[in-house]
Symmetry: C2
Subunit: 472 residues, 2 copies
């Protein structure tokens, strides 16, 4: 067994903790308020508090310690990874001040940092920072809600379209907003399919294109879709919540460049820094190519803010109070790691893609497993070979359960359901019992660079599991 110990952990946090300590030393001079201490400031009260804090902390720590090992390479289940320690540090410091990026007054510097990171992200996607409107949100749902709300403001009576691969939040937020919406096929293999697409977008207001679907990590062909939509007068919103940061790798040969090169032509874009942006939850982001959509956000508040002549973030968000800490952490991360194609940030993403590729290649070479498709980003869907779709589903579920019950040699995966008919189309040699039933496959998300050196061990654990199951 490979004992997998990421290197440098202690070094990193030991570097950061004294900085944190120094912050508190300096913060004391600014007069931190400590609500608990105002009853009494006697030494005995402080001792009682310290004792209780330590005892609650014991329980807390033991509970937190019972999490699935999200940090380890052995966890390749859902989209979960710890933030970069630098993001963590900045977040921790900023929460101690607790600025509110609703208004400049609630956190002048964290609001300024938010504007700076919005400019960086705008440049990254190919927008002109000077004419872009954007802000951070508490997450991807709110970011997509705002983009769809603006879609409704611009085209109140026209439907929103997306592919069947789009995240369920789109149909849900359309229903919250009372917008009619539907899924249409995104197929462009033949002239006939393109014509069918043209016909289906006629009269639509906005089309949602996903770069990095949450199911299989696919990048929908924005480059093909965009000119067709422009021709038809249909707006394009890109949900790049998961895949947005891969834009940094567009010319690296690690992914299909064209959809990312087309990104700057989209009308709005959602990216979640709390996914691949190395940030803690919740940090989403919405960007609008045309800053004049800011007019829809306008509202009046009875409180006056100090600095009303500058851009006031509360005027261009649907949310009110928002954590300044999210902006601080993202600002710090971008300053430290860079946000260019040759940055440490980009290198981290490249390692994720490389891990997925290598794993797909190992699985593709193993006669006992089969890939659903070649991965387009860092998510791989695959299954144990079997004669019938039912057997594939059963084996997948068994491997899923068995792999995470192996102590030190556990593996944490997720399951993915594919439409039965679609599966039959892709794998006609597999006997489908009931084609209306979805087929359950295995899914692995390679969003941690640690996976890169873990591929073969992961494959070993998978094989061992299959062996255990079929030997029964």
């Amino acid at each position: 067994m490979i004992t997998f110990q990421p290197l440098g952990t202690k070094l990193m946090y030991k570097t950061l903790l004294p900085l944190l300590e120094r912050w508190f030393d300096e913060a004391e001079l600014q007069g931190f308020s400590l609500p608990y201490s105002y009853h009494s400031d006697s030494q005995s009260d402080a001792e009682t508090f310290t004792k209780k804090a330590k005892s609650v902390f014991e329980v807390f720590m033991s509970r937190m310690g019972s999490c699935y090992p999200f940090h380890q390479a052995a966890y390749a289940g859902q989209m979960l990874k710890p933030p970069h320690p630098a993001a963590w540090l900045a977040y921790a410091i900023a929460t101690s001040v607790n600025t509110n990026n609703h208004a400049l007054d609630g956190g002048p510097e964290t609001s300024e940092m938010e504007k700076e990171v919005i400019r960086s992200l705008s440049r990254m996607v190919g927008y002109e920072p000077g004419t872009t409107l954007g802000h951070l949100t508490s997450g991807g749902t709110v970011a997509n809600l705002e983009a769809l709300w603006v879609a409704r403001c611009l085209h109140p009576n026209k439907p929103v379209l997306f592919s069947a691969q789009a995240h369920y939040t789109h149909s849900r937020m359309c229903s919250v907003l009372g917008i009619s919406s539907r899924a249409i096929p995104f197929a462009f293999g033949s002239e006939e399919e393109v014509d069918r697409f043209r016909a289906s977008i006629a009269g639509a207001g906005t089309l949602v294109v996903t770069l990095g679907t949450t199911g299989t990590g696919q990048t929908e062909p924005l480059d093909v879709i965009l000119p067709l939509c422009m021709e038809a007068g249909v707006r394009v919103h890109v949900d790049a919540a998961y895949g947005g940061f891969f834009t940094l790798l567009k010319n690296s040969g690690f992914l299909r460049s064209a959809p990312f090169e087309a990104l700057g032509g989209a009308d709005s874009i959602v990216i979640d820094p709390h996914k691949h942006g190395l940030q803690p939850y919740g940090c989403g982001c919405v960007l609008f190519k045309d800053a004049t959509v800011g007019r829809f956000y306008k509202h009046d508040s009875p409180y006056t803010y100090f600095s009303s002549d500058e851009l006031h973030l509360g005027e261009i968000t649907l949310e009110c109070s928002r954590a300044g800490a999210a902006a601080a952490a993202l600002w710090f991360t971008i300053q430290l790691l860079g946000l260019e194609p040759d940055s440490a940030f980009a290198a981290m993403l490249r390692q994720c893609l490389e891990a997925a590729r290598r794993f797909a290649s190992v699985i593709g070479d193993d006669p006992r497993f089969e890939l659903l498709m070649q991965p387009e980003t860092d998510i791989v869907c695959y299954f144990p070979k079997a004669g019938t779709a039912d057997d594939i589903s059963r084996l997948s579920r068994e491997i899923f359960r068995d792999t995470m019950q192996q102590g030190d040699k556990s593996l944490y995966l997720s399951l993915y359901k594919v439409d039965g008919k679609e599966f039959s189309r892709l794998f006609p040699h597999v006997e489908s019992g009931n084609p209306t039933e979805p087929v359950t496959l295995l899914r692995s998300v390679f969003m941690k660079p640690d996976h890169l050196v873990f591929i073969h061990e992961m494959h070993n654990r998978l094989r061992a599991s299959l062996q255990r199951i079929t030997a029964q």
Copy 2:
């Protein structure tokens, strides 16, 4: 000048930092991943990183240090206060793991903590925890959006009503949801007014009542409104985003008890732990009295989760990814400080109310100032006396600017606009130039217990400012 140094700061953080350090020592055994270090793990790379981290940190710290002094008693402007250090610690630890409370799988323990704090908050407001549905949100806007969305699900074609004092988010979210909405007078002084109220709620779906308006901190008479709404078949949603935690003081004599005693009769309630709940942003909460509204949230996702037979928080939220850290921090705080009428938590709130009362009494006794009204919670609105409304507005604005430019003796307030006609009604002796123009007053939010010992110094600084301005 009083040098205002909160006591015990260093003691508190010095207690907490070693706990944090210990967490990282133990976390290393769990295999934290550090994306930056995977290129190379050489000592020189580590040194380069450390050097850069320190240099970016210098800039960061100097920028954060230039914030308004939100922590000090001298800041009594907007609703801003630092979280309790215990909340800070738990938040910092939990972000290092970065669990996602979308699903039990994303953070089994932080999801469980979320369920536990929801039970505590339900009990606090007088709901039966076993039959209540609730969850944390990223903030008050999303919490209110969900409550209004459920209002629409139950009564798709009926309007939502609120008083003119309701937060602007209600009319805004109603417009996002496509619900018709309007403000109605909340006046119950005479039988005639009650009849007028009865007439105006006829046919409505849901009425929003605010406990702790963000403008003046008023608690609307929920106890009077609730029976009238029940009689008319109108649902009641309580926006207690700001004032919810004051429920702990309902029998303390510090506030009007009846509206808080009626809270358990409301159909839904929003409370923001990131306001008076000692939490960092973003932490809101929505509670529904009747758990069966959960049916509106149902959706299907193509990924399978490990523990689908238990309550899965993603099934009862509109948001998808949510910070498990918010639940962890609130859980830790409640465990440590308690959430009962005799808890340290309640004592902290009592000190805020007491500070506001004392300040109101000092201002009421000063012939140069006048109160807009007696404070109902911890927000005080007041103004420098003058013969005309225009002079009052001008002097308020001048004091607002002047007080924050006095270096060590600065004071940070906010401005509040009152409808001109309403002001004339309350202060008929003041000459109103143009009654359609709002009158600008001063507003102070006493949400930090530190204010309690700062009242007289605050009054001194206000008087000095008025003197400077009128001497010119």
